[in-house]
């Protein structure tokens, strides 16, 4: 399993997709981003265009990854843990629950069905704005999930300006 982290628009998706293309096996794109808020449709459309003709089967799954069944063993790209965590944590009625188990067991279920899994996440704990308690709880939950996934992953890279910086494991040639 590989974990890719980095800030907004640092080239994580492009790098992950290019990596998937190196393998000739079924390619799955697990999309966790729920279309919500201004600009989300455009972002989803942009990512969809990027994946067009790359042979990805897109599976939209906003929560409950533990119940996901992939038809074949191949390579999966899960994007991204920040969305999945938020979806598992907050519901539309404003309830908050700890997303840790759902995200971690969901990723484990996905990984069992894949030959290779690339997981994209984001670093959201590095700013100084005063957030409400719910957002602070989200930041901490995502930090804990990222640390757990990094512990499980063979490779962890941070993407900076499209350049992978190995944080764990060797850089793939």
């Amino acid at each position: 399993m590989m974990l890719l982290t980095g800030g907004s628009a640092c080239g994580k998706s492009s790098y992950a997709e290019a990596l998937c293309l190196r393998f000739s096996m079924p390619r799955y794109y697990i999309a966790a981003m729920r279309p919500y808020g201004e600009g989300s449709e455009e972002k989803i459309a942009r990512h969809r265009t990027m994946r067009a003709d790359k042979g990805f089967v897109t599976v939209e799954r906003y929560t409950g990854l533990s119940g996901l069944l992939l038809p074949h063993r191949g390579i999966a790209l899960l994007e991204c843990i920040c969305n999945l965590t938020a979806n598992e944590m907050f519901d539309e009625q404003g309830n908050i629950k700890d997303p840790f188990d759902a995200v971690i067991s969901g990723v484990a279920t996905l990984y069992r069905q894949c030959r290779h899994l690339i997981v994209v996440t984001n670093d959201v704990g590095s700013d100084s704005k005063g957030y409400d308690p719910g957002t602070r709880a989200y930041i901490r939950a995502l930090g804990r999930i990222n640390a757990t996934l990094a512990g499980q992953a063979d490779h962890v890279y941070e993407l900076v300006c499209g350049i992978p910086i190995p944080l764990k494991g060797e850089l793939l040639p």
Binding site: G6, G7, S8, A9, C10, G11, S14, G37, E38, G39, C82, N122, D123, V124, G125, S126, D127, K129, Y131, T135, I139, V160, C161, G162, I163, I165
Partner: protein, 120 residues
């Protein structure tokens, strides 16, 4: 072209000076004749639509410094999100063209692409 990225106050300009660049050679968020441009992110935040037209002019610079603005909670405000993403994408494009990319952390330069140029 050399690209230096890093957080606010991470030591980008101080490091540029150790490479031999003078304060008066550095333009603060404007495109002019000077060989160095810093605060690139402020130019993008003024007009996030401008990145395609900026790219060829930026490619003529010797040195570009840009704050990393993509970390932290993704802002609720649509324009702020667009600006952060435009800055990130522009840096990916610049890094692709750059001979050398340096990332500053706590004043320490980390060369993440190529090797540092010797300025004669």
């Amino acid at each position: 072209m050399l690209l230096i990225v890093g957080g606010e106050g991470s030591g980008k300009r101080s490091f540029a000076k150790t490479l031999g660049y003078l304060e008066e050679e550095m333009a603060d968020g404007i495109l002019d004749h000077r060989p160095v441009l810093f605060h690139l992110e402020q130019m993008v935040f003024r007009d996030p639509e401008c990145i395609d037209s900026l790219l060829p002019r930026l490619a003529e610079k010797e040195l570009i410094l840009c704050n990393e603005v993509g970390s932290g909670i993704i802002p609720v405000d649509h324009r702020e999100r667009l600006c952060r993403e435009a800055t990130g994408r522009l840096c990916v494009l610049l890094a692709g063209q750059a001979n050398c990319v340096v990332r500053m952390v706590s004043g320490l330069p980390m060369v993440i692409k190529g090797s540092l140029p010797c300025r004669s």
